[in-house]
Amino acid sequence: MNNWEYAESIESEKIVNIEKKYGHFIQGEFVSPNSKKYLDTISPSTEEVLSSISIGDEKDVDFAVNAAKEGLKQWSKTSPSERSKYLFKLARLIQERSREFAVLESLDGGKPIKESRDFDLPQVAQNFFYYAGWADKIDLAWGNGISKPYGVVGQIIPWNFPLLMLSWKVAPALATGNTVVLKPAETTPLTALLFAELCDEVGLPKGVFNLVTGDGTTGSHLVNHKDIKKIAFTGSTSVGKYIQKSLSGRDVGLTLELGGKAANIVYNDAALDEAVEGVVNGIFFNQGHVCCAGSRLLVQEDIHDVFIDKLEKRMQTLRVGNPLDKNTDIGAINSKDQLDKINELVNEGVNDGGELFQIECELPKNGFWFKPSLFTGVQANYKIATEEIFGPVLTTLTFRTPDEAVEIANNTEYGLSAGIWTEKGSKILWTADRLDAGVVWANTFNKFDPASPFGGYKESGFGREGGRHGLLSYLKASS
């Protein structure tokens, strides 16, 4: 099958203005790092160096936490309706400058512009808008017993949805009256740094939002800081476990949003073409760099062949390439490290005996790329069927009965999300009740909304982000 020819339609980079070097944003201003150490952030689609960011050391983190402690004095004196207005203003500014943010996000992270422009940025703005409205209604959300902020909150976010994860963390934390020290991922810090400029622009009191860039060591200093009252982390399950362990015996709140290996269950009575779209979106959205990606396709045995045939045809139409091309469906893999991990797991899948289908397409010479891939003929115990791959690789398993589908779906330490495809309502509800997953998408997949709680069961973490339930992650219960 031939791809249609598309004329390139490249989003201009001119709208962004990237500094050569960035400091941390602490106490309302950019400051040079105490560490005097920097690391390069590159564009994963070209490997071109975009900028140098500061690596926060223990003193940098300490400086930021102290600023947040000072900021807390001011922020707790700020009335809820004033806090609300700051967040509304931030939402508006993000909307106004969303093109700039979207280009920056695609440059620094490799995601297609159509996703950063049409998904990430609208969600970011909406998220600030949504939580802005909660700021002066906290006592209505869960009652008077649950209405006090933690204080200084440390937040560590991943590289897959850099600014969106910032908004999931920062908006509810500030709305509930906490102050923040945020550490963005080392490969995707640029949109967070631009967000810091916006905080200054709206006149957010100094120290309410602080940003320390760096790598894992910086995050570790934040977790271990004695004055942090709560840590919110999104990232891998292994790092989540390390953080939980590090906080043992300390009176520090913790919410974790970790990995997943979601089952996308396709029953034989599903609307198959819609299911194909959903399965494709479920795994190839954002190059599969999605913790809730539908990376395990569970298809009912009697429709396996026809479904795989349709799926492969649809996959072949995906366009891989320049993230800034508006036609691009699949952008660059976020980093060399991540590409190596994907390669390793896929090779292991082939060696184990899995049958690999990859679409025919040309990949750019520079940068990090991986062809959309589909495994069939896989046994449930293969690594490719159990480990989170965080890339554009789908693994197929089959089942005969609904009971078996649920059993396979739940046969994992993870429990973040799941998908169900059937035209039968009672079967949706029956299945949804039995899946160990914090989010269940029925006849849809990868839908998100600031009003909708997101978070996992089991080793996918604890706590929710989004909605009324997301407020609980930043409020302390008192008896």
Binding site: G143, I146, G240, Q244, K245, G249, T444
Partner: protein
């Protein structure tokens, strides 16, 4: 006639059992001294196995049914009120204090019995998402729960250490040390209240003997500590628990809606709307 003295045993899987280790520890009351079975690591594992099956049974009952079973527990205590008062007096409480405590415990049980078929209307809701989707967040019980009770000489405090978890559908292993005689006496009324076997297990002993296992046992989905334990013990539970991202709660609220929040998991379900 010689008085017959009661032997207190653990209550596991709907049966009254001794420790497999054969070991006991002493609780010395004003008028009586009791030898209480001392929970071993194996006893804890057995209780977890029972609780796993108990969770499936308890959680599969309708909310109405669970509600009636909790209410029945209050009826049982009411009928045996005098014997509880005597037991609490033997623990050092005045008659009045003991009577108040028992009455409070009955009120607490009735409060939770009435919450069983209502809490989800308070914790769940439709989410007004920006799009043509039906989107609902509702709650499910986390599962097998270990609770170390507050170890105070109070039936009311004791019931508050398992009712929030049971109310939402979790099964509970309730652990006592100093107040074990009260807990094991209560297990007799629990046994008469139609709880499915394993839904509520009552064991006793020295917490430090099992603290590592409570943290490390992956089938204990939630470890809840109502007692004020040492920093060392908290660290052990936290470190062991982190290996399986275990839910761990230290001294959570014991009344109101906030008392049940640690025991539930929020599930959000999406479905498109269309013609």
């Amino acid at each position: 006639m010689t008085e017959v003295k009661k032997t207190y045993k653990h209550y596991v899987d709907g049966k009254f059992v001794r420790s497999e280790s054969g070991k006991v520890y002493a609780i010395d009351l004003k008028n009586e001294k009791y030898e209480i079975p001392l929970t071993s690591k194996k006893d804890l594992r057995d209780a977890v196995t029972s609780s796993k099956a108990g969770f499936i049974k308890w959680n599969s009952l309708t909310m109405y049914n669970k509600s009636q079973i909790l209410y029945r527990l209050s009826e049982m205590i009411e009928g045996n009120k005098e014997s509880y008062i005597i037991l609490l007096q033997d623990h050092g409480l005045s008659k009045n204090e003991a009577k108040n405590d028992i009455e409070n415990s009955i009120n607490t049980i009735i409060w939770y019995a009435g919450l069983v078929d209502k809490w989800e209307q308070l914790t769940g809701n439709l989410n007004p998402v920006a799009g043509e989707y039906f989107n609902i967040s509702h709650q499910e019980p986390i599962g097998v729960t270990f609770t170390l009770n507050s170890n105070s000489i109070s039936l009311d405090d004791l019931v508050k250490s398992f009712l929030p978890a049971l109310t939402v559908g979790c099964s509970v292993i309730n652990f006592s040390e100093k107040n074990a005689v009260i807990a094991l006496k209560l297990s007799e009324d629990i046994n008469n209240s139609d709880f499915p076997a394993g839904s509520l297990n009552i064991i006793a002993g020295k917490f430090e003997n099992i603290v590592e296992d409570v943290g490390g046992h992956v089938e204990i989905k939630h470890a809840v500590i109502y007692d004020d334990i040492s920093k060392e013990s908290k660290t052990i539970i936290g470190e062991k628990g982190s290996e399986s991202v275990k839910r761990i709660s230290f001294q959570p609220p014991t009344s109101g809606l906030s008392s049940i929040l640690p025991f539930i998991e929020t599930k959000t379900v999406w479905h498109p709307k269309g013609k």
